[in-house]
Amino acid sequence: MSKKIWSWLALVFGILYFGLPLLGTLEFSLKMRRGVYSLDAYAAVLNDPQFRATFSYSVIMALFTIVLGVIIVVPTAYWVQLKYRRLRPFIEFITLLPLVIPPIVVVFGYIRLYNTSSWLPLTGSAMGTNILLMFGYATLSLPYMYRAVDTGLRAIDVRTLTEAAESLGANWLTIMTRVIMPNVLVAILSGAFLTFAIVIGEFVMAALLNRPAFGPYLQIMGANRAYEPAALAVIAFAITWACMGLIQLVTRFQKFSRVAR
C-alpha cells in the first residue's frame, strides 16, 4: 500500500518537475499582448528573417552531422560487437569523453589546430568553419548516437546473423545493407533525433566559431527580448516532439518491429 502511494507520488513529482516549467513558458509566450492570450510572440518570431536564416542553417548542419555520425558510428559499433568485444569498454569510454570534456575545450583545440596559419586552415573560409563545426557537433552527439546504435545492435545477435548471412554467400556490403542496417534503423533514427535536438540547441561551439546558428540567435533573443524567447522555446519543443512522433510512426510501420526494438 505505502509502496503504491510512494511510486505514484514519485511519478506525479516527475511530471510536475518537467511539466510546470514547460507550462509556465507556454503560458508566458501567449501573453505578449497585454491582458489577453495571443500568438503575437509567435508571429514576431516567425516573421523574423534572422530566425529563418539561423534555423535553416542549423537544420542543414544537423542533417550533415547526422550523416557523418551514422557513417562513423554504425560500422565502428558493428565491428566492436563482431570482432573486438574486448575493445568495447575502451570504445565506450571514448564515446563518453564528449560528455566530460567541455565543448569549449574541443573548440579551442580545433581553433588551435586548424587556424589560418596551420597545415589545414579550415577556419579561413566559411565552408571550412562549417565543416569544423559539423565535426564538433558530431563529437557532441557521439555519446547518444553510439549508445543508441550499440543498444540496437545488442538487441539482435550481430555475430550469428553475420555468420548466417556469410554461410549463405553474402559479402560484407550485402550483410551491412540488407541485414544489419535494416535491423538497427529505429536505433539509428533515435540517435539521429537526439543529434538533431542537440545541434539545434547548441550555443558554445557555434558562438565561438562565429557561425550564424540557431543557438546563438536564441541566446541573443533571450538576453534582449521578453516574450519571443518563450515562443522560440515552445517552437523548439514542438519540433522535437514532432521528430519523436515520426520515429514512433516509423516503428509502427516496420512490420518486424517487435524484435527490432
Binding site: 546473423l161 548466417a164 548471412a165 554461410s167 554467400g169 541485414v179 518486424f256 527490432a260
Partner: protein, 349 residues
C-alpha cells in the same frame, strides 16, 4: 579420399589447445554427430568446416577440393545455428530465399524453390510471416529450409535443438533426420545430448578435450565404448567394486556373493576391479538361466513414468537398475530384499 575430409586439424585460442589433431573422413550422404561436453572442441571443429575459424594446422577438403583458404561465403555450405539466426527484418519467404537471391537466381526460380523448401519443413503457409511471429520450433525449421535452399554440399548443424522444449526437440530431431535422409545431404551435427546423437546419426564422434575419443555407429558407441570417458558420458553406468578370485575363469566376489564372468581377466587374483553395468541390462529377479544374480536390499525407487529406476544396496556398493513400468504391478518397496540378474556378457570392466 572421403567426400568431406578433415585431416589433422589443430586449433589454438591463445595458449589454449582447443582442437588437437582431429581427423575424420565423411562419406557423401552420411549423418555424423560430434558429441561431447562443452569445451571439448566440437563446435570449434564445426566452425572450421564452415570457415568461421581458420585451423592452425591440418586440411579440410570437400569433394576433393581444398577449402581451408576459402571464405565462408565461398564454401557452399548450409549452416543452422542454435539461436536460429533468422533475419528479423525479412519474412520467412525472404529468409529462405536469401541465399538464392545472393546467388543471383531469377525471381520465379527463387519463389519456386522457397515454396518447395517450406513444404519440406511443413511450413507451407508461413511464407509471409515474420520470424517473431513463429514459435522456436518453427523458427528452427525455417532456418533449416534457409540453409538447404541453395543446395549446399554440406549441412552443418550447431546444437540446433538445445534452445527448444523437450517434446518439440524429439519431434524435430526425427524431422531433421528424415529430411536429411530424403535429400541425401552430407551432414555434421554438433550436440552435447547423447540421446540426440544416438537416435539420429549414422556415425558418432565422441569428443573429449580436443580429441576424438571414439568414432563409430551409435550401437557400437553405446555398447562397446572405447574408453571409460565414452562409457560414462554416453549413458548411465553402475560401477561396482569386486575382488578377483580367479582371473583365468573370471570369478569375482561382490559383497560376499560370487559372479562368474566367463572370461579371463587381466587383473591378478585378490585385486579389486570395478565392474561397469548399464542400468537397463540389470533385471529384477532371475530370468534367463545363464544370468548372474546378486541379492540386495532396495534402497530407493524412482518412478520416472515409463521407466522405474531402482537402487539396490549390495554391501558398500549400489546397483541402479531400470525396469519398465507395468500397468498392473506396483514396483517393489524400499527395504525389500530382491534378486537382480544380468548376462555376464554385459559386464564391462
Amino acid at each position: 579420399m572421403a567426400f568431406l575430409d578433415l585431416s589433422n586439424l589443430q586449433k589454438f585460442y591463445g595458449t589454449n589447445h582447443v582442437v588437437k589433431d582431429f581427423s575424420i573422413g565423411i562419406e557423401k550422404g552420411e549423418f555424423i554427430s560430434f558429441l561431447g561436453p562443452s569445451g571439448c572442441g566440437k563446435t570449434t571443429t564445426l566452425r572450421m568446416v564452415a570457415g568461421f575459424e581458420v585451423p592452425d594446422q591440418g586440411a579440410i577438403s570437400i569433394d576433393g577440393q581444398d577449402v581451408v583458404r576459402l571464405k565462408p561465403n565461398q564454401r557452399n555450405i548450409g549452416m543452422v545455428f542454435q539461436a536460429y539466426a533468422l533475419f528479423p527484418n525479412m519474412t520467412v519467404a525472404q529468409n529462405v530465399g536469401f541465399g538464392l537471391k545472393i546467388a543471383g537466381k531469377p525471381k520465379d526460380q527463387i519463389a519456386e524453390r522457397v515454396t518447395e523448401m517450406l513444404a519440406l519443413v511443413g511450413l507451407k503457409d508461413f511464407g509471409a510471416r515474420y520470424p517473431f511471429q513463429l514459435s522456436g520450433g518453427q523458427q528452427q525449421r525455417v532456418a533449416l529450409a534457409r540453409a538447404l535452399a541453395p543446395s549446399p554440399q554440406v549441412l552443418l548443424l550447431d546444437e540446433p535443438l538445445s534452445a527448444l522444449d523437450a517434446k518439440i526437440r524429439v519431434s524435430l530431431r526425427e524431422e531433421i533426420r528424415n529430411i536429411q535422409r530424403d535429400l541425401g545431404i552430407t551432414t555434421i551435427y554438433v550436440t552435447h545430448d547423447q540421446e540426440e546423437a544416438l537416435s539420429m546419426s549414422d556415425r558418432i564422434v565422441v569428443m573429449h578435450d580436443g580429441i576424438a575419443e571414439q568414432i563409430g555407429e551409435p550401437f557400437e558407441i553405446y555398447n562397446k565404448p572405447a574408453s571409460r570417458f565414452v562409457a560414462e558420458f554416453v549413458g548411465t553406468l553402475n560401477l561396482i567394486d569386486a575382488t578377483v578370485e580367479d582371473s583365468s575363469t573370471g570369478r569375482v566376489k561382490v559383497a560376499g556373493q560370487h559372479l562368474e564372468l566367463g572370461r579371463s581377466l587381466e587383473a591378478v587374483n585378490g585385486a579389486t576391479v570395478s565392474l561397469a553395468l548399464r542400468p537397463e541390462t540389470v533385471r529384477l529377479g532371475r530370468i534367463a538361466d545363464g544370468d548372474q544374480t546378486l541379492t540386495g536390499l532396495v534402497e530407493e525407487v524412482s518412478f520416472l513414468g515409463s521407466v522405474v529406476r531402482i537402487k539396490v544396496a549390495l554391501g558398500g556398493n549400489h546397483i541402479v537398475l531400470d525396469t519398465f513400468n507395468r500397468t498392473i504391478s506396483k514396483p517393489p518397496s524400499i527395504g525389500d530384499q530382491i534378486e537382480v540378474s544380468f548376462p555376464s556378457e554385459s559386464v564391462m570392466i
